[in-house]
Symmetry: C2
Subunit: 188 residues, 2 copies
Amino acid sequence: MRYSATHKQETREKLLDSSRAIAKKEGFDSTGVDTFMTSIGLTGGAFYSHFGSKGELFAAMIERELDLSTEMLAGDENAPQDHVAKRLRSYLSTYHASHPEEGCVLPTLGPEIARSSPQVKARVERSLKRLQGAWSERLGNDDAAWALIAQCVGALVVARVVESERTRQEILASSRRFLEKTQQDVQK
Amino acid sequence: MRYSATHKQETREKLLDSSRAIAKKEGFDSTGVDTFMTSIGLTGGAFYSHFGSKGELFAAMIERELDLSTEMLAGDENAPQDHVAKRLRSYLSTYHASHPEEGCVLPTLGPEIARSSPQVKARVERSLKRLQGAWSERLGNDDAAWALIAQCVGALVVARVVESERTRQEILASSRRFLEKTQQDVQK
DNA sequence: GTCTATAGCATGATAGAC
DNA sequence: GTCTATCATGCTATAGAC
């Protein structure tokens, strides 16, 4: 063959990484296959050597997304000194709100996931339950774990729909302070 | 003219109402103008007698949405016995999660609003600040008001991305219990 | 105001050359 | 594996008949 043995896999990796970023910034449905391919220096026709359809890319993209971001939020179980609070602060940062392409999938593609296939949603559910389980253990409170996840996702959605940078920061700061305060009651 | 004096206004109203519901369920960008028009029994060409562009419909749709849902959440100031808690419970209901077309715009169109024009986002910000102000007064806590809004929006986004009905209800119930518990500390 | 017809462009996906 | 060319369809928006 005219290409190295690992070439296809490398292209697929690049495509996945680039597509994730673009979709989180511009939306997945509203972005054409050609845009995804052009972003890694290829033309649209080559897409179908890697995925059978645009929908397959979405599924693979979400899977990669969950592997990276949800596992990151769950925390390393071998690092007990690692606190949920620290992760919350970085999630609720101005940087995260201003850079959707690098951030969590849920505040950007949540509604598109909600409209997607049962398989994709089941995969998302599995990751969310693992995260909830990890936080629940650390917090000693099942409800709080789900509530913190919701709080994080919601704060980013709300922060991004407002126009002024000032209000955006106010929303994030309020959410951070609220969680710090309530966590003292909830956390052991 | 061949149509009654109020005909155009009535058609515009129907178009707005139908479009709001469809967009919240299927997404706005991914829905064609023709679909919006067909839903009220007209053809696509007639759309431009009512709006100059698809973007104008989006702006008008969001405005209507805010007038209805955000003002509803803010509560009637002449009804002091009306508690924030009651509104939270109905927002965090299974019914709301299962019927995006009738529910709040933010969990469904939040990301699309985030990508829209500064004018639209400024309009959304104005309504959110009014809601935050109203809840803040009742709760006697500025941070809690923003946090509750985020909690509500996030809980719906998260509830809708999971596949099983059971997990969906667990998320909503956790969020409701968490808020009930923390509200006792926050509310006077 | 609404219709049909159409321009003009973008899309998802396929076929065949290299 | 990637390219160009293309099909078939979808889209936003406009033009002109009624």
